[in-house]
């Protein structure tokens, strides 16, 4: 009988508090960065190979919209992963473990990420 028993895990029906949204996004941004490593290592490889490859990598980042977008995406993910990671570290030291302070911290993470993403956009374009 127990095999047949359903489990209520219909995530769409649950309320997800801000702090928990931050947490899952931290994870998602981490995975995004991991996937982006292919791109970063290739760029890094080119940039150190020779002057001409350096120039073409530079050109790619300056002219190709797709490359620019990927760069911006990775920078934004990094910004978020970084901010949320800071929140984690702060929590590890025993701060922000109450609902109110955690919510404030979560809002701060969002604000900081938004700012960093905009700055990253300005920088890339």
């Amino acid at each position: 009988m127990s095999d047949k028993r359903p489990v209520n895990l219909d995530l769409g029906t649950f309320n997800h508090p801000l702090v928990s949204v931050i947490s899952i996004c931290h994870r998602i941004s981490g995975v995004v960065l991991f996937v982006g490593l292919v791109f970063l290592f290739n760029i890094f490889d080119s940039s150190l190979s020779s002057a001409s490859e350096f120039a073409s990598a530079q050109a790619l980042l300056q002219d190709n919209f797709f490359a620019k977008f990927v760069t911006w995406g990775l920078l934004s993910s990094l910004g978020f992963h970084f901010s949320a990671g800071m929140k984690h570290l702060v929590m590890d030291f025993g701060h922000g473990e109450e609902i109110d302070s955690a919510n404030r911290a979560a809002k701060f993470v969002i604000a900081l990420t938004a700012l960093l993403s905009v700055l990253a956009g300005v920088w890339v374009w």
Binding site: G30, L48, A51
Partner: protein, 115 residues
């Protein structure tokens, strides 16, 4: 209470600690790189490769590389044990992650010392 062969240090505490320490190193490295590039918008190949040929920067970069490997492994191992419920799928995923991180590390070392 729960031991797992594929966990990094096989102790929750060491995994946790490695995750934190590597995070700090990566954070500092990221900030340094971003600031460096921002302050040197007109950077050229000579300056760029000179940066990475200094011993200090090589050590710093190697630390970041190793941190990256550990950080990704622990993070993705944890992701895989959450969502991938089929043993074979999880195992293959973990092997791919492990292999990739190994490749990235060797690749990075080669880049830095190949200059």
């Amino acid at each position: 209470m729960v031991t797992t062969v594929t966990s990094y240090g096989r102790s929750g505490l060491s995994d946790w600690l490695v995750q934190r320490v590597s995070a700090v190193i990566l954070a500092v490295y990221s900030i340094f790189m971003v600031l460096y590039l921002l302050l040197n918008p007109q950077i050229d190949f000579v300056q760029w490769s000179a940066l990475f040929s200094g011993t200090g920067m090589r050590i710093f970069s190697l630390m970041a590389l190793l941190s990256l490997g550990a950080h990704c492994w622990i993070g993705l191992w944890s992701v895989s044990t959450d969502y991938l419920k089929h043993f074979a799928v999880r195992f293959v995923f973990q092997m791919v992650v492990g292999l990739l991180m190994f490749i990235y590390t060797i690749w990075g070392v080669q880049l830095l010392w190949g200059l």
